[in-house]
Amino acid sequence: MSDTDYNFAYLDEQTKRMIRRAILKGVAVPGYQVPFASREMPMPYGWGTGGVQVSAACLTPEDTFKVIDQGADDTTNAVSIRKFFEKTAGVAVTEKTAEATIIQTRHRIPETPLTEDQILVYQVPIPEPLRFLEPRETETRKMHALEEYGLMHVKLYEDISRHGEIATAYAYPVKVEGRYVMDPSPIPKFDNPKLESAALQLFGAGREQRIYAVPPFTKVVSLDFEDHPFDPSKAPHPCALCGAEDTYLDEVITDDAGGRMFVCSDTDFCARRRGEAA
């Protein structure tokens, strides 16, 4: 595939316009899932087709693009998506969070705070936070329309009564600007506080044909109870490589005798800290 075989950033202009309209609607109604006519992409559903379509609709030739998966730039799927846009859009790419204008992510929010000049694009598998409580789309849309979130609170309450805490560790539901309950995609709940950001955050779910958005400086509250406040927990260790105490850590098994270590999941953040220390 050479870059002349396809339009800039792969999708044709009509499709991009359709996606941009959905994005604008999403920005206008924060947290609301906007249906859009998702296209088949040349990577499988589940590999980030929603995020890829949103990125394709946002990219301009002047952009600098970064892709992370599980916080890392060098995981196979991140490499694959970065290469895809290098080839089809010819944009500059980077691994440095601060240098990127658009960051596509799966399952993490970068540790480095984002700025107003950046867009964070999330890949979303199941956009509906109520899906596992109610499998029917016609029902869940009604529940959102009526702001009927009792079922979700009952679920969280049942967690507390059974386990003593809310037993959701990732894809922890949030309420956006006091209105819509939203699935922040499967980020660890440690990342939830970063959802209140200076950057524009866009969420794309290709297979489920939904786009939603959190505009800059929007209020995002993780659901909780007064007597059981939200707790963005993480492994109680510092990073074994850079020593950071306040980052999300991957647990790496180092031998077959139970040896393990904890390292930053955000590889760019960790490498930068080590570079500064050296």
Binding site: P35, P44, Y45, Q70, D74, R136, K189, R207, Q209, L241
Partner: protein
């Protein structure tokens, strides 16, 4: 010291190279040509065209070659290509009544105008492995040829319609919604459901249809008619002001005649299920007709018996194999961030549970 694993990029390139080598197989064996696949694996080609929603036997054959015979992967390749094609316009509805039929059978009438035409079917073959086929270079088999059927082959349901015995299907004026250009939305009307079924996974649609036969939303179908053949595709050309034939496609059409004792809203009469699929794909077309009929319970005023095949959301959201396989297989992508958070949660919950047990034991 531990160094995080690098080299995703090189791993991908190497994996692709290995894949290409495996695709070719033993270089001592002659390479398959796309034309060979198109001509000799034509039913696989038909399935890929039907579920890929693109009528192009050469591209479907290429996709099968590239996918190493994995038909769902081939469907995916075709879909990903189709999505990049510009849309010039829509054809006129094809006239299946004017189909030049290779096969046309009715299970409801012994004989009928146009006759029963068996065509190239497996139906009455004995499924015995033909070891002679393992030898190559056999003489080209040739079937005896008769004169092409003269005269029209009217639709069987037309005979029933003349007596008002079957529910009429008036022509709708509205242009149906397009599943590939608009997000799926419920309630889904019949044209939309039919679009989803015709591109749906053959195995899924088959099993859904089968479940209705076994009692989960039984609808008593007869194959009123099954026809396979070539139809002309006509398109209005606005610049010319008239319509032109732009090509031919092979289609399989199945109309079922379903027993119906009447409901609160409809009188006793036969009802229909409809299947229309690209290529010679009769298993799929019959399955589609049964599932279509099952999904019509609401408009016919029947009871919802809670059968999976009656549930439009369930059927339509799960019939697409490209979506299904993508989401299913994505769980092999890294999930260590989510898993890590679960790991910490389960350790904490266990610690608390163990402490509680110990406390109880101590008391």
């Amino acid at each position: 010291m531990y160094v995080a694993v690098k080299g995703g990029e090189r791993a991908i390139d190497n994996a692709h190279a290995w894949l290409a080598e495996e695709r070719r197989g033993d270089p001592g064996v002659a390479e398959l040509s796309v034309a060979q696949i198109r001509e000799q694996l034509s039913l696989a080609v038909n399935r890929v065209m039907a579920e890929g929603s693109l009528y192009d036997p050469d591209l479907a054959a290429l996709a099968i070659k590239q996918a190493r015979g994995d038909l769902i992967e081939a469907v995916f390749l075709i879909r990903a290509y189709r999505t990049t094609l510009p849309r010039f316009g829509a054809s006129r509805p094809v006239d299946t009544g004017a189909m030049s039929c290779d096969r046309r059978i009715s299970a409801t009438f012994k004989d009928l105008p146009g006759g029963q035409v068996l065509g190239p079917t497996f139906d009455y073959t004995h499924r015995l492995l033909d070891f002679a086929l393992a030898a190559e270079g056999l003489a080209v088999p040739e079937a005896e040829r008769g004169a092409p059927a003269e005269g029209p082959m009217p639709h069987v349901t037309g005979f029933l319609a003349r007596e008002d015995l079957i529910q009429p299907e008036p022509e709708g004026a509205e242009t149906p919604r397009d599943l590939t250009r608009e997000p799926l939305d419920f309630p889904a009307d019949r044209p939309l459901r039919l679009q989803a079924l015709t591109r749906g996974d053959e195995g899924f649609v088959l099993s859904m249809a089968y479940s209705t036969q076994r009692g989960y939303g039984r609808n008593h179908p007869f194959v009123g008619e099954l026809r396979i053949g070539t139809v002309t595709v006509e398109m209005d050309i606005p610049e010319l002001g008239f319509s032109m034939d732009v090509g031919e496609v092979v289609l399989t059409e199945c109309e079922t005649v379903n027993q119906f004792k009447g409901s609160k809203t409809e009188p006793p009469q036969f009802t229909r299920g409809y299947g229309l699929v690209f290529g010679q794909t009769e298993r799929k077309a019959i399955s589609m007709a049964l599932v279509d009929r099952a999904l019509r319970w609401e408009e016919l005023g029947e009871d919802d018996v809670g059968a999976p095949a009656q549930d439009a959301e369930f059927v339509l959201y799960h019939s697409d194999n490209v979506q299904a396989t993508g989401f299913l297989e994505h769980i092999k992508l890294p999930h260590y961030v989510d898993f890590q958070s679960e790991l910490e949660l389960i350790r904490r919950l266990r610690r608390e549970a163990m402490a509680a047990t110990r406390r109880e034991a101590a008391e």
